[in-house]
């Protein structure tokens, strides 16, 4: 059995010596924070134009995370590339010849990449929260208010889980292009559109991103949204189940298919 610390070290070298790591993670942070800040500034100026129901359920925490809808796409790219470039470059054959235990190889890679995504996710989450609150002015909340810290930490976890889910999908599909071709439209379009369609939204609610983002809400049914059949942690749990399924699929594919 290969030494796990050695494999972890090797995977860390892999991840830190390619430029895609830097630009995808930087994108995730900048896009999330910039769009979050812009929306917070907009909300402040437009607050009085909101419908009464929206004003009643105004959730300053959730508003500051608005940028994640786009920022998460960069996390998807990060997750997909971490696994997918092993296949597109042909490196997978060298990697598996060096670490023939499929589980050790895959889960070491995923552990390193997810830890990095988690750190970046947390930094992004706290940064976008504090900047957003500063821009919301009189409508702001504070980190010490009930459930706010849970939402901010949860947003960081959400980012890491999105990345991990993407890694699992890329391990199953064994191709960066194919994985991005499925995940990007899914998170950016399909999930967003279906959750606005009556009927379909009861299903879309259980999609990983929809369920997982429940953790970022502080005010129940924030912004006059439909009540969800699960709580914040329940939603994150549903997302975690998706992640586990993707990882199990990825592991089985790696174990049984020819490299």
């Amino acid at each position: 059995m290969a030494s796990v610390p050695a494999v972890l070290k090797s995977e860390w070298t892999k991840i830190r010596t390619v430029s895609s790591t830097t630009w995808t993670l930087a994108c995730a942070l900048i896009v999330t924070v910039a769009i979050g800040a812009a929306l917070c500034a907009l909300m402040r100026s437009q607050f009085d134009d909101l419908k009464p129901a929206e004003r009643l359920t105004f959730d300053p925490t959730l508003i500051s995370f608005s940028g994640m809808i786009l920022g998460q796409l960069a996390m998807v790219v990060f997750g997909v590339l971490v696994v997918g470039t092993e296949y597109s470059s042909g490196m997978i054959r060298s990697s598996l010849a060096a670490v023939p235990r499929r589980g050790t190889f895959l889960f070491s890679k995923l552990a390193v990449a997810t830890l990095l995504a988690l750190v970046v996710g947390m930094v992004t989450s706290f940064l976008t929260f504090f900047l957003g609150q500063a821009l919301l002015g009189p409508h702001r909340t504070t980190i010490g208010s009930p459930n706010v810290l849970r939402a901010v930490v949860g947003a960081g976890l959400y980012m890491a889980l999105i990345a991990l889910f993407s890694m699992g999908v890329a391990a199953m599909l064994r191709s960066s292009m194919l994985s991005l071709g499925i995940l990007m439209p899914f998170f950016f379009l399909i999930s967003q559109i279906l959750s606005a369609v009556p009927g379909a939204k009861n299903v879309a609610r259980y999609f990983p991103d929809r369920a997982g983002s429940q953790i970022m809400q502080v005010v129940p049914d924030a912004m006059n949204s439909d009540p969800a059949p699960y709580g914040p942690w329940g939603g994150l749990g549903i997302m975690a189940l998706w992640v586990v399924a993707a990882l199990a699929g990825g592991y089985l594919v790696l174990r049984h298919r020819d490299a």
Binding site: S3, E11, T17, M91, I92, S94, A259
Partner: protein, 333 residues
């Protein structure tokens, strides 16, 4: 020592590797020869546990590949030059492989120096030529200073200087007592590097023999005669009891004939000769003969790929196959 036992790989109904059993012994360069599509690369991938065999097994020093704790220290392989991440530098590509097997970083610089890539160690691998990629692949094989080395078509893309270098490297490594297993589709390349030869065609073992035996048994020598009076020449040869073959182009070939004796025979009967020459069939031809029945992608041209230009139609071809098939058996693999 690498041991294959009944190794078989099927893709659907197509058999890529068929019941391969042989051993690769230490201290010599073992050539693994076969035409394109014969199953060489598939076999090598199965040796490294990259592809799962349909049946049969491979043992590396008695162990299954997946049981090796730090496999790079046992077996180093060059599979293809593209098995590296183009966005990473040559040094970093090797470093991450080294780290996974607890090989010190200093060894990375050492192998880069061995393959002559020190100057481009900090360059991204995607800018590398095929030859440089090949050298990088060889460097990765050498990383763990392994007892077994496996090279899949190592001379591909190398310039003459590089080819010369890899030949010497392999001989030197074998000289140190290591097991060297190298594939090629070029007989001429094998003749220069390999001490032992394993030939496959359509996934089946065709020969497992020492290079010396192979050369002895397969270099057919014959005398080629051409005459404007060829009908009389045939009669003369017939009367003298000399076995001969007629080629398609009007020449006559006498296997293992002596030029002197044939020249004198012609003179006695006052025959005009336009050609009297000693010929040696090359190993390349012998190899083509052997695998003629098992070449997957035939070129459809005027000449049959199975036979050399000088060979008569009734001499070459797959009919000879049983003779070759016998090697594998009498070598007792």
């Amino acid at each position: 020592m690498i041991e294959l036992e009944g190794l078989t790989k099927r893709y659907g109904s197509k058999v890529a590797v068929d019941q391969l059993s042989f051993q690769v012994r230490p201290g010599v360069v073992t050539g693994f020869l076969g035409p394109n599509g014969a199953g060489k690369s598939t076999t090598m991938r199965m040796l490294l546990d990259l592809d799962n065999p349909t049946s049969g097994s491979v043992r590396i020093d008695g162990k299954h590949y997946r049981e090796l704790a730090e496999p790079l220290k046992y077996i180093g392989a060059l599979l293809d030059a593209k098995a590296m991440h183009g966005g990473r530098t040559a040094y970093n590509n090797l470093l991450c492989l080294a780290q996974s097997n607890r090989i010190p970083a200093a060894r990375v610089s050492e192998v880069l120096d061995t393959v002559g890539l020190t100057a481009v160690a900090k360059k991204k691998a995607k800018g590398f030529s095929l030859g440089m990629g090949q050298r990088l692949g060889i460097a990765s094989a050498l990383l763990g200073d392994p007892e077994i080395l496996m090279f899949d078509e190592p001379v591909n893309g190398l310039d003459p200087e590089g080819i010369h270098w890899i030949r010497n490297l392999m001989k030197q490594l074998a000289g140190e007592g290591r097991t060297i297993f190298v594939s090629s589709h070029l007989m001429s390349e094998m003749a220069l590097t390999a001490d032992h030869l394993i030939v496959i065609g359509q996934g089946r073992l065709l020969a497992d023999t020492s290079m010396a035996d192979f050369i002895r048994q397969n270099s057919r020598s014959f005398v080629r005669l051409r005459s404007p009076q060829w009908e009389r020449l045939l009669d003369v040869l017939h009367q003298a009891g000399v076995p001969f073959l007629q080629t398609g182009d009007g020449a006559i070939e006498v296997d293992n004939g002596r030029i002197e004796a044939l020249g004198e025979l012609a003179a006695q009967h006052q025959l005009v000769l336009h050609e009297l020459s000693g010929q040696q069939a090359s190993l390349e031809e012998a190899f083509m003969q052997m695998t003629a029945g098992s070449v997957e992608y035939h070129a459809h041209g005027a000449t049959t790929p199975g036979g050399p230009p000088a060979a008569p139609p009734d001499w070459g071809g797959a009919k000879e196959a049983p003779r070759w098939g016998a090697f594998g058996q009498d070598k007792g693999v």
